[in-house]
Subunit: 266 residues, 2 copies
């Protein structure tokens, strides 16, 4: 299935109307089955469902390392993803019943107790980068958002270091884009501990729990954070930068985690 679907619409421009064909983002429900048990249904763009499933499980703390992942089976006809995980223990589904609906730009569900999150290593090395490079990363980031360019209806996330973008993901869901990216990094065995996460969207507390859970030290978004995301970032050692537009940006938390090479004193 394609991530964008052709539809007919009437375009209005002032006093004129015109029938035309355009693309909208496809949205599907898929069922995530873990060790033979239905865990949840997720709505997302119908691409990279393996990465989506794996990233979701990483973000929820159910999948911790590559040795634990025994298998993934994507059925694109029936929209199911079956994941087998080693050593989940008996009560692994218990947390799943502690429903917390969170602010995924609306409501998301999270099974994460923020107090269970680890702090990022206090002695981590700061990431060296310049404001110009951040501007260039975002220019590259935007140009890769094909589905956004086609439909205007998706979010994107990218993993980068100071030389450039390493991985890119997009989805109708802001949270999904981050989970897909994390899943892609997991499947490619890319260490996140010295990387930068770029996001097109607002950063809520729940997005920040994904970042902390996956030990990503630096998050940069084009838009706004919420107060809860700042609290989690502060508590867990994440450097959070918002409103990154051109050569401007706001550093909200842990400024020692980034060294802007073009600034002599900061």
């Amino acid at each position: 299935m394609q991530p964008a679907t052709e539809i007919l619409l009437i375009r209005v421009n002032g006093d004129q109307t015109e029938d035309m064909v355009d693309l909208v983002a496809t949205e599907i429900a898929f069922t995530l089955i873990v060790n033979g048990e239905v865990l949840v249904s997720l709505l997302c763009s119908p691409i990279e469902l393996d990465a989506m499933a794996v990233g979701f499980l990483c973000s929820e703390g159910l999948l911790r390392d590559r040795e634990s992942l025994l298998g993934i089976e994507v059925d694109e006809q029936n929209f199911t993803v079956k994941v087998r995980i080693k050593d989940l223990g008996q009560n692994w589904q218990k947390n799943f019943n502690q429903k917390t609906i969170t602010s995924g730009c609306g409501k998301g569900i999270t099974f994460t107790d923020p107090s269970s999150l680890r702090h990022l290593a206090a002695n981590r090395q700061p990431i060296h980068i310049s404001t110009e490079k951040i501007r260039d990363l975002f220019a590259d980031f935007r140009s890769r958002s094909e589905l956004y360019i086609q439909t205007g209806g998706v979010h994107s996330a990218a993993l980068a270091d100071s030389s450039g973008i390493i991985l890119f993901a997009e989805d109708i869901g802001r949270h999904n884009a981050v989970d897909k990216l994390i899943g892609k990094a997991f499947l490619a065995a890319i260490d996140l501990k010295d990387k930068i996460l770029l996001s097109s969207g607002r950063i809520s507390g729940e997005i920040m729990t994904k970042v902390v859970r996956n030990q990503i030290p630096l998050l940069i978004t084009r838009t706004a954070p919420t107060c809860m995301s700042l609290t989690y970032a502060e508590e867990h050692g994440v450097t959070l930068i918002g409103f990154a537009r051109g050569n401007r940006m706001n550093i909200y938390t842990h400024p020692h985690g980034i060294i802007l090479d073009n600034i002599t004193e900061s």
Copy 2:
């Protein structure tokens, strides 16, 4: 609690940095208790929690009419909202266990089976409005978004008719803004069946189920719909307009539900 919180940040502009104070959107978790049972925790902006609770329950089909609402009690210290509803029946919580995580620009939870939704009255009267009036409604809509202007981190929703905006709501969550608006209309006993819903955000399948459930005939957004939202709108009689910007807009579904007065033939 205020919906925006003052925080300290470092503003970077090229080679310059400056410490400053700015506002970010507050995000809180509140617990919704229905007839003495904890139903769910929701993350949202800490304003109008009564409307938020009521709108959520309307959208989930748990609250159908004003006679069924026996009481609302908001505890702003402990962030709980207690709602008492008449005649819920014994198994009302059962649907709540059918977890479907949906694409609330990420993941939202919905307990709605779209096939349970009613079709809007086939013989409803079309809404008469001009493209200029829609442009003016959106100009007014944006100017009311105080929290967005302060923080850049929230979504908004408004209820309107062809003369102007009747109700306005904003929240860190796209879905929450719609639910709050629906809750405010419910509490003010405003009939939705001949009104227009304005949204600042993307329209997913889940947002459309809220619109259908609450029998709102016309939805206009500044941005994109997903394919699933078009499917639900088509099936249930909703006129959906997207990318409403200036005098331009796309009519996606049920064009007979709107008559643009400035267009003689459409």
